[in-house]
Symmetry: C2
Subunit: 194 residues, 2 copies
């Protein structure tokens, strides 16, 4: 039996991922996950409310880190740079889950129920980031737009990092925010098209 709660939690996540990959999400029960992890089913439910949530345990930590990152970004930055600061400051959360990240992404991509939950988690975190911007005095109209745009850059960086771990997540974040800036920077041809 795992000694600590944190170790049990990690073993449950690992077991769930293995079983979802071997048998599929729908064909796996919480009892089987618990058995594979060497704990009883009650321990599963002490850590996770259901078998979807077992894959989304980093959510609260990421949300808190992003809110803090937005609050602590230097004064006077353009909104997108506030968000770049926040996502870079929060990168330790995905970095701490690197070993789960790749199989987790594959299982989510292959399971519509998990894909929808993943999108809902992203939308919820994005709303928290927008709220943190509002508290900094960013105009209301820009808050959600900015948060969603930055979330797209984060998703881009995260996916690239899973595919190419030879570069750090921070390098991928810097690249994705630079890509985003290039996309929204006006070019000389714009005037004629408006």
């Amino acid at each position: 039996m795992p000694r600590s709660g944190a170790e049990a939690r990690r073993r449950l996540q690992q077991a769930a991922l293995e079983l979802y990959r071997e048998r599929g999400f729908d064909q796996t029960t919480t009892a089987e996950i618990a058995a594979r992890a060497g704990v009883n089913e009650r321990t599963f439910f002490r850590h996770f409310p259901d078998k979807r949530e077992v894959l989304f345990s980093g959510e609260a930590e990421l949300r808190a880190a992003l809110e803090q990152g937005v609050a602590e970004a230097p004064e006077g930055l353009p909104v997108l740079d506030v968000l770049r600061h926040a996502f870079r400051a929060a990168r330790h959360v995905p970095e701490g889950n690197r070993s789960f990240a790749e199989p987790r992404m594959k299982v989510i991509a292959a399971t519509p129920a998990l894909r929808e939950r993943d999108l809902a988690k992203g939308a919820s975190i994005t709303e928290s980031v927008a709220e943190a911007l509002r508290k900094r005095g960013v105009p209301d109209r820009l808050c959600l737009l900015a948060a969603q745009t930055a979330w797209a850059a984060f998703a881009q960086a995260y996916t690239a990092w899973i595919a190419d771990p030879s570069q750090s997540l921070d390098d991928h974040l810097i690249q994705a925010f630079a890509d985003l800036r290039a996309l929204i920077t006006p070019t000389p041809t714009d005037d004629s098209t408006r």
Copy 2:
């Protein structure tokens, strides 16, 4: 009984919306929707595979209009302007559903199962838009990021249009794409710190 298939479809959508608002999504059956629309349940299933999809019928049309808009945008435009062109060209799709738009948004916001489906639809359309950009030769790394950024602007414009129909959807789209540019602009108080 409604005379045409299109009229039956519209009455089913209207009936579903009414019932979801009156009783809640979970408490409404397809038989009840059909009865309210004055058709039989078989007719419901001829038009919609389930009671979630009845609220997402514009999806295929919007996707097709956006793909066409990206393909037909003038050569030589910056990527974001290609997308601005495409979303403006596709605005007739949401405009055609204006009377359903507001109650529909409220029901979706109040129903987690519909909210997740809505996010999944948006993600799927965004992937199609990214693919259309790829076909124009936009670098791979930028396609999904650009499509998600434009989708955020579209969502912003759409929500603003529902809240404020005194301006056209096109005006709101122009504003939202302009707001994207404001994300990289320092705010007036910023000058001293940069």
